[in-house]
């Protein structure tokens, strides 16, 4: 009797999960498989034909793809470390209970996270205009929006402004788990604050630093809103990202090229899968 009853409620578990699972299957897994198939096809959207590895071969000679790939990785390699380092510095400064205005500083630094990506991009665009405020403060005449090098720097500055506080709160949460006794002992031994940051804080935060590195990397690989709204990929594609290129290939030019766009999107998929595997492996070992 008891056993049958148990079987009854174990079975009802499916009632709770079926509908969400059907939706995830139709809206994530099926599109994923369709994208994989499309990546091996070419031609106009209504008459697509298989062309083997043609799309992937095309990437090797496509200069815009190379630019998009290079830019995406440039943002990654330059921006993610700067942002995470700043987040670490700020959070270790805020981890001091004797600090005055601690709540204010924490809220202020987190505040950029409440803006939408489109909104803050447009704000940045006005601040960095040719005759705009930033050039006036610096006393320069930099063409932030139209110079190939400075436009990239602007994108990096913008993303750093938006996301440093976000990463900082993860570090603050992690630091609260480090016993204050360790720092006291280090103080008594005469270790400087900088030494404490590198010898105590960073080693203890390793899993969280790794987590933020991976999430920021995945975010950067999909960068779109900022580039689209600040520079629209320009000048001459010098700030374009992979996601932006996929968008342009599929929806922005006269003739959509879904096959090639899907192939490019798989470059992002492969990068993310590899990174997530690394994350699982490292976190799993901790």
């Amino acid at each position: 009797m008891r056993k049958t009853k148990k079987r009854v409620w174990i079975g009802t578990g499916n009632d709770f999960i079926t509908l969400p699972l059907i939706l995830i299957t139709i809206l994530v897994f099926v599109p994923m498989i369709m994208a994989l198939i499309t990546a091996f096809q070419s031609g106009p959207p209504l008459n697509m034909k298989f062309n083997g590895f043609g799309n992937f071969a095309r990437m090797l000679t496509d200069s815009t793809f190379k630019k998009a790939f290079g830019n995406t990785f440039l943002y990654l390699i330059v921006q993610v470390p700067i942002m995470l380092f700043l987040a670490l510095v700020f959070s270790s400064m805020l981890n001091d209970t004797k600090l005055k205005f601690r709540g204010f500083f924490r809220t202020a630094l987190f505040l950029p996270c409440i803006t939408s990506l489109v909104s803050y991009s447009l704000i940045m665009k006005t601040l960095f205009a040719d005759a705009g405020l930033i050039n006036q403060i610096l006393g320069t005449q930099i063409h932030w929006l139209t110079d190939p090098v400075f436009a990239k720097i602007l994108i990096i500055i913008a993303i750093t402004w938006r996301w440093t506080g976000y990463n900082m709160i993860f570090y603050i949460a992690g630091m609260q788990n480090i016993s204050p006794d360790i720092y006291e002992a280090a103080d008594i031994d005469g270790a400087t604050k900088t030494q404490q940051l590198f010898k105590i804080t960073i080693p203890n935060l390793k899993p969280i630093i790794l987590f933020t590195t991976i999430t920021s990397t995945i975010g950067t690989l999909q960068l779109f809103d900022e580039v689209k709204n600040i520079t629209n990929g320009g000048p001459a594609n010098s700030t374009i990202t992979l996601s932006h290129y996929i968008y342009n290939l599929s929806f922005n030019f006269g003739k959509p090229n879904f096959g090639y766009a899907a192939a490019v999107s798989f470059v992002i998929v492969i990068c993310i899968v590899v990174l997530s595997l690394i994350q699982n492996k490292v976190v799993g070992n901790e």
Partner: protein, 283 residues
């Protein structure tokens, strides 16, 4: 030495706080100025606020309509996403079985799929719906490209939220479920009357992330909503910024209005807001 390092700390934090806050002051100031003053970096409170607001609301871009569209999309997405993900999170944790555990792990893989890769197939799928007609009713009106449905449905079931709910249900006392079963309550009643009221904080955090990401969503609406009267707030703002003769005073008004709901949620529910943003590392 200690005093000096303390002073450096305050200086660094003050600069960082100023840099973080300044763009907010800039956008608020911008609502009172005209384009010329904004692009020439003038720091001043101008007298153009009412004119800018008037232009924003009477412009052909139809900002009021976009506000309604964004609100409808964000509210419906949040309601359905909370319901479906809490159901699934509860189902996976309370009714543990080997098979479901395997399904859960496969489901988590969907978090790795970048939106850029799903965008094209989703677009083509929904375009197919546009061609279906039942009697005199065209499906496209309600479910196809250019319908609000098309923006809502991909965000209502996400592995991330299911994971978030499941993590939080781990701390829920399972004895309560047993006791309720002995009292003869059905499984759905237990979910709705015993579990749901205890999970207010989780619901709040999940609601905040879902509402915020839906309210701010840009890429998929950009692809899926092409007719002007269906556009959402981020699409209108983006169009304002990309125009050949932008009216930045008007745009700043739009940005302030777009930021306001999220800012209010943040200041009223700061704890849940931060908890929501950090959701994935809890537990």
């Amino acid at each position: 030495m200690n005093k000096l390092s303390n002073a450096i700390k305050y200086v660094v934090l003050s600069i960082a706080a100023f840099v973080s806050i300044f763009p907010f002051l800039w956008m608020i100031m911008g609502t009172t100025n005209e384009t010329r003053d904004i692009v020439s970096g003038k720091i001043k409170i101008g007298g153009k606020f009412l004119i800018n607001m008037k232009t924003l609301f009477e412009n052909d871009l139809d900002f009021p309509k976009a506000l309604v569209n964004s609100a409808v999309i964000a509210v419906l997405t949040t309601v359905f996403a909370l319901l479906l993900s809490s159901m699934a999170g509860y189902g996976f944790e309370i009714f543990k079985s080997k098979g479901r555990e395997r399904i859960f792990n496969v489901m988590l893989l969907s978090m790795m799929v970048p939106f850029a890769a799903m965008m094209i197939p989703l677009y083509r799928m929904f375009t197919k719906l546009n061609q279906i007609q039942i009697g005199s009713v065209k499906l496209s009106t309600y479910f196809g490209i250019n319908s609000l449905f098309v923006v809502i449905v991909p965000s209502v079931a996400t592995a991330f939220l299911i994971f978030l709910f499941r993590q939080n249900i781990k701390a829920f006392p399972k004895d309560l479920v047993e006791a309720a079963r002995i009292d003869g309550l059905g499984e759905w009643e237990i979910f709705a009357r015993i579990y749901m009221p205890t999970a207010k904080n989780t619901y709040a955090a999940a609601a905040i992330i879902t509402f915020m990401s839906s309210w701010n969503n840009y890429l998929w609406p950009l692809v899926a909503l092409q007719s002007p009267e269906k556009r959402t707030v981020p699409l209108i703002l983006s169009a304002m910024g990309a125009s050949y003769t932008p009216d930045y005073g008007m745009m700043m008004c739009g940005i302030v209005i777009a930021t306001l709901p999220i800012a209010l949620i943040f200041f009223i529910l700061q704890k849940q807001f931060v908890a929501g943003m950090m959701g994935s590392v809890k537990g």
